[in-house]
């Protein structure tokens, strides 16, 4: 009897792309709403974005069943935190919690590629980017998912991310205005949709700033 490899995988990739950009006093988080499996579209109207706390919003692409489970874990942990500390979790605290939650399942990971955006304790925009097992970093902008390879080089070019090798260390947030950042995000997704088959249908944009949270939608190509 020849040795057999597993032909069943616990994971599936539902595709999709997420982007987040941090500004001086705002944060833009965006994701497309297409959920697919193989060559099929499962739904054109699935939100990959969730608001975890007052000032923290997470967008995740990858395997949506794992994403949903992760969201539930984080939501319940946040509720516990609120009961114990009588306040909302700050964005950097949520970032650490997400990292720990992901690493907890280091040997059977959540197939989720996350981008966490929000406002830090000083009210400045912050974006944290993760891999599937919880390695994270605070950055000025990030993209994850199937279209990330198309979007990241464009953002690198436009947002002048300072090289960590240059001294003195520069601030990670972009000098763009909120409207410019939204325009940039829309362009990114329109372009990624042209060339990535897993990105499309509709774009959901969340904007977080001092006055609260705002949601916007934009149509994308449906083919």
């Amino acid at each position: 009897m020849t040795k057999q490899q597993a032909n069943w995988s616990p994971y599936d990739n539902n595709g999709g792309t997420c982007v987040a950009i941090a500004g001086a006093d705002y944060c833009v988080i965006a994701a497309d709403t297409r959920m697919s499996s193989g060559y099929n579209i499962l739904t054109r109207d699935y939100s990959k974005i969730i608001q975890l706390a007052d000032k923290s919003v997470m967008a995740s692409s990858g395997f949506q069943a794992d994403v949903r489970a992760l969201q539930k874990v984080l939501a319940s942990r946040h509720l516990l935190y609120q009961h114990q500390h009588n306040k909302q979790m700050s964005c950097p605290a949520m970032a650490q919690l997400l990292s720990n939650t992901l690493y907890y399942k280091r040997f059977f990971p959540y197939y989720a590629f996350n981008v966490l955006g929000g406002l830090d304790n000083e009210g400045k925009g912050c974006v944290f980017t993760y891999d599937a097992v919880g390695s994270y970093e605070r950055v000025g902008y990030s993209s994850q998912g199937s279209g990330s390879t198309l979007i990241t080089p464009f953002l690198d070019n436009q947002l002048k991310s300072p090289s960590p090798l240059l001294l003195p260390a520069k601030d990670a947030v972009t000098p763009l205005s909120e409207a410019e950042a939204i325009d940039l995000v829309k362009t990114c997704f329109a372009s990624a949709t042209e060339r990535d088959i897993y990105t499309g249908d509709k774009l959901e944009i969340i904007v977080l700033n001092a006055s609260g949270i705002r949601q916007e939608y934009m149509e994308l190509r449906k083919d």
Binding site: T2, Q5, S163, D183, K186, I197, E219
Partner: protein, 307 residues
Amino acid sequence: MIREAMEMPPKGGFSFDLCKRNDMLVKKGLKEPSFLKTGTTIVGLIFKDGVILGADTRATEGPIVADKNCEKIHYMAPNIYCCGAGTAADTEAVTGTHNFCSLSRCNQHVPFYFICLFSANFILQWLFLDMVSSQLKLHRYHTGRESRVVTALSLLKSHLFSYQGYVSAALVLGGVDVTGPHLHTIYPHGSTDTLPFATMGSGSLAAMAVFESKYREGLTRDEGVKLVSEAICSGIFNDLGSGSNVDICVITQGEKEYLRNHMLPNPRTYISEKGYSFSKKTEVLRTKITPLREMVEVIEGGDAMEE
């Protein structure tokens, strides 16, 4: 993926170097990817006065769209056209103008070791339809008659059979000759079907669903074009391997109409008004100039070597 495709054997043709290794991997339990349905929707139907062929215009390389507006309906003879899925779905290359843009036509999750087979596939494929259309032309000169669809069919199927399925072309062949309108499907291994309506490619199920619901015999030209457009649109919107625009070709007795980009249902949704500039260069972190040689002064009119 592109890097792998560049490492083609220089002699051309097929490279069977990895067959032994592939066999070993299959024995270890690795599932070989199936190649039948590749990123495309192509259809054909017979209507009252002839044949209508339709195709989408997206060419993919894995999850990336390589060409947003390629041509999948290829010329065989003045009265015969052929839609190609799989490797055949490459663009102008097959009809004559050589296009080296995309060497890998495979659209599923193909492991790298299969890519070199496809690169070879592509070269042969590219010559393949071109070759058959040339053979048909010679045959026309020889016989002094208009080409028949069954002739093209026999040439295509015998060629594909002799390559035992390695030339991964799934074709929808249609035309009108003295014996009437004909529509055939040809599979990579060389088998054929003769049908009143047919679909091929990864979007074939989506398109066939439309045909099975709405097809009837004796459609008029406009009804036929509308039905073919609907079937292709179904593939475009519901299959991720197909997309962009609809190409149609209507063939009737003595006449053909090639409607390139008959429908454009996917315009770009957002164009920034202010535009973007790309002036930023790579950051220079450090500059160091090391002269490799000492500067030598050359003085004019120095002592020339004299005999």
